[in-house]
Subunit: 324 residues, 2 copies
């Protein structure tokens, strides 16, 4: 196996290869139809993955592509918790060491689960410390491979495997291929992967208000960053300051626009998922559904909504959604 | 089409026919693997059905088998809420009138949803009134077909379609066929259907403590009833006083034993489903999982656990599972 450190673009062939690899170890997550008003939509329930999030896909494609010497040196990653668990899960399965740099204010359930999966967790202060620098220094010290949460061709291709499942599942259910896919968006790994997987679909990244760097990047045609003092958001999984060039190269060609949703719209979507779909969604996993339910997203044709994660502290979930 | 009122036994051929009919309109619910200690088990997430419960299967098989004249006269059913929604859903799809007799203390969310599906709801007092008599009188008055919640061959066969999906899904995932299936049990419609669907599996009905008429019927070899003053239970869906002869004819041949779980074990299972599976379960939909998690069920071989329903009031759910 070739060393996996080469610089390259993510490709649809890579997404197809990722889909085959993922299918060997993970059953397809369900694609569930339901109605919003007169529109029939489909949700892809990635919250039902073993780690509760789609990130297991990219992590598995990335780590399983490493050669023997890379595997021996282990991996380092940065994540608020879902990529963390994906990398830890894949590393454990491959017998590799994993060190994950996580914000000290990450949800305790995500910190705990990443440790339970056998990873070493190093925490940092989200507002004052540079997580990339910490991770790069750790990777250099350990001679480990740094696995970026979204700006990595393998990771993008791995996330795209969800789109290959969607195509097969719509066909099985006798439905037309997707007109558009609404994707929860942090750094744009999933959005870029879906764009490669589904070349005929419109890809719509959805971000929390104030964390809309991908929306603004699409609107301006150049990568934009989140400024100082961004607003508080419950969407810990989507607090990304800027996308990467390899993601944006795909997104700028394939995303005519992005959408922004409010914290209240996110909570509404979480409540809807609980009561109507019987699914637990974390805030960051509910933004695409929020865009659909709020009326902000077009729903004509075949609309697929990615439900990307469900790792949430139950007490916090109850307190924020149904305060006594 | 022949009139569907004939007396007959449920059969495996009927289950296979039901599975084909169900597959035409409902995607298979996911079969999700995970580990309990060293045991690998599979959960069948029937809480992800459009009505949030497996009851849609039996209702669809029953109502879609009716001839024109039966359809014109509509249906009457008795249910605390899941069979109610199944019958209402199927009736709406077939353009039929549905009248559902429901206990006045049924969860408001179940009463509301049954009405939203277009059914007429008639309430009764669970402890003082005889629901069967009310329903039979209504059916006679309306010349409507009475659709029993479990003691009906079509309903049993329809519920069994879940077992046909399980067989196909285990095979797809390269797993051996089921050694046993743990089934949440009220009147025994699902358990009997699964027994017909999976002739080589041990079928284990699981009931709430004190509502163990099927367990006792299996143990004594004769149908037993719940006595006066049964204990309170959160499992509204499983408060059945006695099984029917056509169910017991199957169960007595195929169930070597049943299992009982406590209210606390049910809550633990609901918490586990939320945090580890990201699934919302109502108490009655969690008893089979409770049997597995509590150590009461054998888990060697291939164990499938039915998660049968997720229709629960969110505030009640939060209050009972994570009291402030």
């Amino acid at each position: 196996m070739a060393n996996s450190q080469q610089q390259r673009e993510p490709t649809r062939a890579g997404v197809l290869a990722a889909a085959r690899k993922v299918a060997e170890i993970l059953p397809a997550t369900p694609l569930i139809p339901f109605d919003i008003g007169n529109a029939k939509v489909w949700v892809k329930a990635e919250c039902l993955q073993p780690i509760g999030a789609f990130k297991i896909r990219g992590a598995w494609h990335r780590l399983s592509a490493m050669d023997e010497s890379e595997r021996e040196s282990g991996v380092v990653a940065v994540s608020s918790g879902n990529h963390a668990q994906g990398v830890a899960w894949a590393a454990r399965r491959l017998g590799m060491a994993a060190t994950i740099v996580m914000p000290s204010d990450a949800p305790p359930i995500k910190l705990g689960r990443t440790r339970e999966l056998g990873a070493e967790v190093v925490t940092y202060d989200r507002m004052t410390e540079n997580r990339e620098e910490i991770a790069q220094a750790l990777a250099a010290e350990k001679r480990a491979t740094y696995v970026h949460a979204f700006g990595d061709p393998w990771v993008i291709e791995g996330q795209g495997s969800a789109g290959i499942e969607v195509l097969a599942q719509l066909a099985e259910q006798g439905a037309p291929p997707p007109t558009r896919i609404l994707a929860c968006c942090g750094g744009g790994g999933l959005s870029a992967g879906l764009a490669l997987a589904c070349p005929d679909a419109e890809i719509v990244p959805v971000e929390p208000e104030g964390w809309d760097d991908v929306c603004r990047s699409i609107e301006t045609g150049e990568i934009q960053s989140i400024g100082d003092n961004p607003p508080l958001t419950a969407c810990d999984a989507l607090q990304t300051f800027r996308t990467s060039p390899i993601n944006f190269a795909v997104l700028k060609e394939r995303c005519p626009y992005g959408l922004r949703v409010s914290e209240q719209e996110v909570r509404e979507a979480q409540r809807f998922a609980f009561a109507e779909l019987r699914l637990v969604l974390e805030p960051g996993g509910a933004v695409a559904l929020a865009a659909a339910l709020s009326g902000k997203a077009r729903l004509d044709g075949t609309t697929v909504i990615m439900l990307t994660g469900g790792n949430v502290d139950p007490q916090q979930f109850c307190r924020s959604l149904w305060p006594a």
